[in-house]
């Protein structure tokens, strides 16, 4: 394996300074960077910036009406977090579908976000929950809504000297979030389709508001199905709603054939799972 030079700053400000001086590939838990390096996938980076010692980027905290995740929060920490289990169980569910214990102990939320895989398992949930990604650099911090963070195939809104420092997920009263990953097997699986659906509704008889539908593995980047969201807005989870929504979403996405699945399957399954989620919400 090519072993590019790596620096391990102890403070965030030191990391910012290094990033301002030269092009570094940041590495957190290593579960993506080392796969690419040892597999010879793509050109190796010239130098690496190890974020692992930056304790400023750790921790899960409740901050008023939002949950704050440090970028170095691992999937295992999300799974163990009582506050997360209470307030955002779908996030815990999503973290549990990633890899297996070895990956969950090392892989980080910030890494998942910055790696920008169209199949990133956590990303549709971030889209469905209006998460805000806070990026930092020597120039300071800025907030980027998840909906505008992933700009193309493995492209993000981060500038070259920026890293993800934390993620803020607003907590909304009466919001329901559902997560479903269709993978290639039951563990250690990359997704064929990831669906995260959220809506606000105080009672079963109340129409859905603020509907968000985040999807993974159905486009070159994680997306929100905005046309289907618009259709669902203000509706009740009835059979008619489910039928039309499943047709809408299948028409809205443009998945591809690849080594893991087919476009036809992804389209069909996205529709059918959305139908199922609406049906379960409507309890019919």
């Amino acid at each position: 394996m090519i072993e590019p030079p790596l620096v391990s700053p102890d403070t965030l400000s030191a990391a910012y300074r290094l990033l301002a001086e030269a092009a570094y590939r940041p590495i957190s838990g290593g579960t993506d960077v080392l796969v690419a390096l040892s597999g010879g996938l793509g050109a190796p980076p010239e130098r690496l910036l190890d974020l692992w010692r930056l304790d400023e980027l750790r921790g899960i905290a409740l901050d008023g009406d939002a949950l704050i995740f440090g970028a170095l929060t691992t999937y295992a920490e999300i799974r163990r977090s009582a506050v997360c289990r209470d307030l955002l169980p779908a996030f815990v569910e999503a973290a549990a579908t990633i890899g297996a214990a070895q990956i969950q102990n090392r892989g980080t939320l910030g890494g998942n976000i910055a790696n920008a895989s169209p199949a990133g398992d956590m990303l549709p949930v971030l889209l469905a929950t209006d998460a805000v990604i806070v990026a930092g650099s020597v120039r300071g911090e800025r907030s980027i809504p998840a909906a505008s963070f992933w700009t193309g195939y493995r492209q993000t809104a981060l500038a070259g000297d920026e890293i993800v420092v934390r993620i803020r997920i607003p907590l909304v009263a009466d919001r329901q979030v559902r997560f479903r990953k269709i993978g290639t097997r039951r563990a250690q699986a990359i997704s064929k389709v990831v669906i995260a659906l959220s809506w606000v509704s105080a009672a079963p008889a109340e129409p859905w508001r603020s509907v968000r539908l985040g999807l993974g593995s159905v486009a070159e980047r994680p997306i929100r199905a905005t046309a289907t969201e618009a259709f669902l807005e203000g509706r009740l989870p009835t059979s008619d709603t489910a039928n039309t929504a499943s047709v809408r979403v299948a028409a809205e996405i443009e998945p591809i054939n690849d080594v893991r699945s087919t476009a036809d399957y992804r389209r069909a399954v996205t529709g059918r799972v959305l139908y199922r989620l609406i049906r379960e919400a409507g309890d019919w």
């Binding site: 090519i2 597999g39 097997r185 039951r186 563990a187 064929k192 087919t262 036809d264 399957y265 069909a268």
Partner: protein, 759 residues
């Protein structure tokens, strides 16, 4: 398809007689795995764990095209080539041929590249960084040629067979029901967790010693002698601890050993060639894809009267072992069912894809999947239970196979079937799943939730040992030596790769000689020490080589007891002191009454058959087509159980490989290149995907082997996939004709079924 009314009444339940133990057979027991403590403490040495000071690292330069004219191997003049060695075909002293059945596969390609990832040149360097740099400065100059990827369009046939008995056309014409089917199965990767690995070390006598992960030391030995022009002694092959084989380390290690040896010769130093997973998947052999078509005829009174079968196997670019794989596939294609009129035509053809080779089951899983699909579909057409239909049709003692072999003994199809059916409560579960299916249909699809449960059944036979006269040609030898210092040593070329050779052979010897097992040693698998006992393949080790070992022990015991006049156990140490070493070499003798004609394919295709049944239960998610295999009951006839824990381990592992084959293991190709060439994309089941497996060991001993044992390793591989696919059908109502039965295929089949029923 013509359908007659359902068949008559269900036969009375079969009463089973347990096989009584007979004297002289081995007593089953479960001593600890011999090399278990070493494996459990990390001290067992696999190839990559071996240290050879000063060793260089070797790498293979491979083609990136499926078919091309090779115009040259170009070394960048800007690179300092004095620091490394490069080997091309011109540097091979002997034949540029990987020794196998046909002389068609070059060690390094010369004029024509015939598949993606074909070896063209070799580079070795003192360290990995320099090696990487050197490899980046090698280029292949090629001009493209038109490749062939479709086996049905291939005109190059490596092997073909035609088995006929009775008059199939007439029988089909007279049949009350004819069911036709075409079944396609894809590549399957062995996926041993230890990649192929080999280290070549120059010997002082001008020869080479190779240490590697391998199943068949003497295959490698022969390949080295031939292409490096070495004497028997100059070519030395030593098996390191081997992290799984499953057929994938049967023939492939020959080419890898040749590569390592050529580099070691070039740099006059040890050379390590340890594949990474990507190279291992991209370049090494897989299970042959196959297209199998059937026309099966059933008489008005419900007998199977005709089977017309055509098999096309995709061999890939070179012949490798394809004729033998095809032969086994052909001989098993009828399934374990008596049928008077059978015609089986088969061919293995060339395509411009990496060569396929041995994998547990060796051709039989492909054709028996198709055979069992046929039986299950016929049962559906007749509206009779698939269990009941098999009860009527399965082979019983005295039945004749399509090659004219009369099954005189050791026939346990019925016992395997009945015991699996009983343990799984097949009919009870099937009634429940049928009721659930009916209510689903009546209330609208998926109305009772999105998970549908199903149960499915399969039955198979598997010829034990080599096909036809193969064992006779092998001339295997196994030896047992009482050394001059009073130790008892087993000398066999049979390898341990996890299946238990190192444990069961000492067990057999201890029993035959009446000594404690701990007093029996197992010589290392080093061609300078042990004889050629034939390859460790074809589930032949326990039956054939084990039989030879027992034969050697009986002779040794007789010699010592005659000299001492006392029981062996009490006298062998003194005997060794008095008479020096006594070594018995036991040579294979044809099993009496077993006769096969290789040219006409008539006669006894195998000395005996093993019998297997599997019953699988699945949950299918009707929204997504995802399949969870919940349980498999596996009943496997091994002849005689030597070590129940190891035997169960074989059944459990083989069953899960079959479940993977049925559900998720898939290789897609683009321009002759495997797309699933990493462990992130070629998926095997994890512990969460694995079913609960219940193993039932059936014993129908084979009289030709002194201990009655037959093979075990391959049996479960034949039945798992058809059982799972039958269970998917039971859950969903759709038949998936192609493996794997992926969610994509299941959803597509349900969609077209629904479209038809609405149209």
């Amino acid at each position: 398809m013509t359908i007659r009314p359902p068949l008559g009444r269900i036969a009375a339940p079969v009463t089973l007689r347990p096989h009584l133990p007979s004297s002289g057979l081995v007593t089953p027991s479960a001593p600890f795995r011999r090399e278990g403590p070493a494996k459990l403490t990390g001290t067992a040495l696999y190839t990559d764990d071996l240290v050879f000071p000063g060793a260089w690292y070797g790498q293979t330069i491979r083609s990136t095209e499926a078919r091309a004219r090779l115009l040259g191997v170009e070394l960048d003049p800007g690179f300092d080539w004095t620091r490394v060695v490069v080997v091309t075909a011109a540097d091979i002293p002997g034949a540029n041929i990987v020794n196998s059945i046909q002389d068609d596969q070059p060690i390094l390609a010369v004029d024509e590249i015939r598949h993606h990832a074909e070896p063209v040149a070799l580079v070795a360097a003192p360290d990995r960084a320099l090696l990487r740099e050197a490899v980046a400065h090698v280029a292949l100059r090629t001009s493209p040629l038109q490749p062939v990827f479709d086996p049905l369009a291939s005109s190059q046939v490596f092997a073909h067979y035609d088995i006929q008995t009775g008059d199939v056309e007439a029988a089909l014409a007279g049949a009350a029901l004819v069911v036709e089917g075409e079944y396609r199965v894809g590549h399957q990767e062995q996926l041993y967790i230890e990649n192929n690995a080999m280290i070549a070390v120059p010997r002082d006598d001008g020869g080479v010693a190779v240490h590697g992960s391998l199943q068949c030391p003497y295959y490698v030995h022969k390949a080295l002698r031939r292409s490096l022009l070495l004497s028997d002694a100059q070519a030395q092959v030593i098996q390191a601890e081997t992290g799984g084989g499953f057929g994938g380390k049967e023939e492939y290690p020959s080419i890898l050993a040749l590569h390592a040896a050529l580099l070691a010769r070039a740099c006059a130093r040890p050379v390590r060639m340890i594949y990474d997973r990507h190279e291992d998947i991209a370049a090494t052999t897989k299970r042959h894809p196959a297209i199998v078509t059937y026309r099966s005829g059933v008489s008005a009174d419900g007998r199977l009267v005709a089977q017309e079968i055509e098999i096309v196997m995709d061999a890939g670019a070179y012949c490798t072992l394809s004729p033998v794989v095809l032969s086994r596939g052909t001989l098993h294609a009828g399934g374990p069912y008596a049928c008077p009129n059978v015609r089986i035509r088969s061919r293995a053809v060339a395509t411009n894809t990496p060569p396929n080779g041995a994998f547990r089951g060796f051709g039989a899983p492909q054709t028996e999947f198709a055979a069992e699909m046929q039986v299950n579909r016929i049962a559906e057409a007749l509206a009779v239970s698939p269990l009941e239909l098999r009860r009527r049709w399965l082979y019983r003692p005295g039945d004749t196979t399509p090659t004219g072999q009369v099954l005189r003994e050791s026939v346990a199809a019925e016992e395997a079937l009945e015991r699996a059916a009983e343990a799984s409560e097949f009919e009870r579960v099937r009634a429940r799943t049928a009721a659930a299916r009916t209510s689903r249909v009546s209330r609208g699809d998926a109305a009772d939730g999105h998970l549908a449960h199903g149960i499915g059944l399969a039955l198979a036979w598997h010829g034990a040992g080599f096909t036809g006269s193969g064992e006779v040609h092998l001339e295997s030898v196994a030896s047992v030596e009482l050394t001059g210092d009073g130790r008892i040593v087993i000398l066999v070329g049979s390898t341990e790769m996890g299946q238990g050779t190192k444990t069961i052979f000492p067990q057999l010897v201890a029993e035959a000689l009446g000594v404690p097992m701990d007093d029996v040693e197992f010589a290392p698998q080093d061609t300078s020490i042990v004889p050629d006992s034939g390859p460790t393949v074809a589930s032949r080790t326990a039956m054939v080589v084990g039989g030879l070992v027992i034969g050697a022990c009986r002779r040794l015991r007789a010699v010592v007891e005659e000299r001492s006049g006392a029981p062996f156990a009490d006298s062998y140490r003194a005997d060794a002191q008095a008479h020096g070493p006594t070594r018995i070499d036991e040579h294979f003798e044809p099993y009496p009454g077993v006769d096969f004609d290789d040219t006409t394919y008539r006669g006894d295709a195998y000395p005996a058959f093993g019998w297997a049944s599997a019953i699988a239960e699945v949950d299918v998610d009707l929204d997504t087509g995802e399949v969870a295999v919940r349980s498999v009951v596996a009943a496997d006839d091994v002849g005689r159980v030597i070590h129940p824990v190891l035997a169960e381990g074989q059944v459990e592992g083989g069953t899960l490989q079959a479940v993977g084959y049925a559900t998720i293991e898939e290789i897609k190709l683009r321009d002759g290149r495997y797309l699933n060439d990493r462990l992130a994309t070629y998926l095997i089941p994890t512990a969460l995907d694995a079913p609960r497996i219940e193993t039932i060991l059936v014993e129908a001993p084979f009289s030709g082997a002194p201990h009655g044992a037959k093979g075990i390793g391959e049996l479960p591989m034949d039945v798992g996939a058809p059982a799972v696919v039958a269970a998917i059908h039971d859950a969903t109502g759709v038949w998936i004709h192609d493996l794997p039965a992926s969610p994509e295929r299941i959803l597509a089949a349900m969609a077209s079924r629904d479209a038809e029923s609405q149209g």
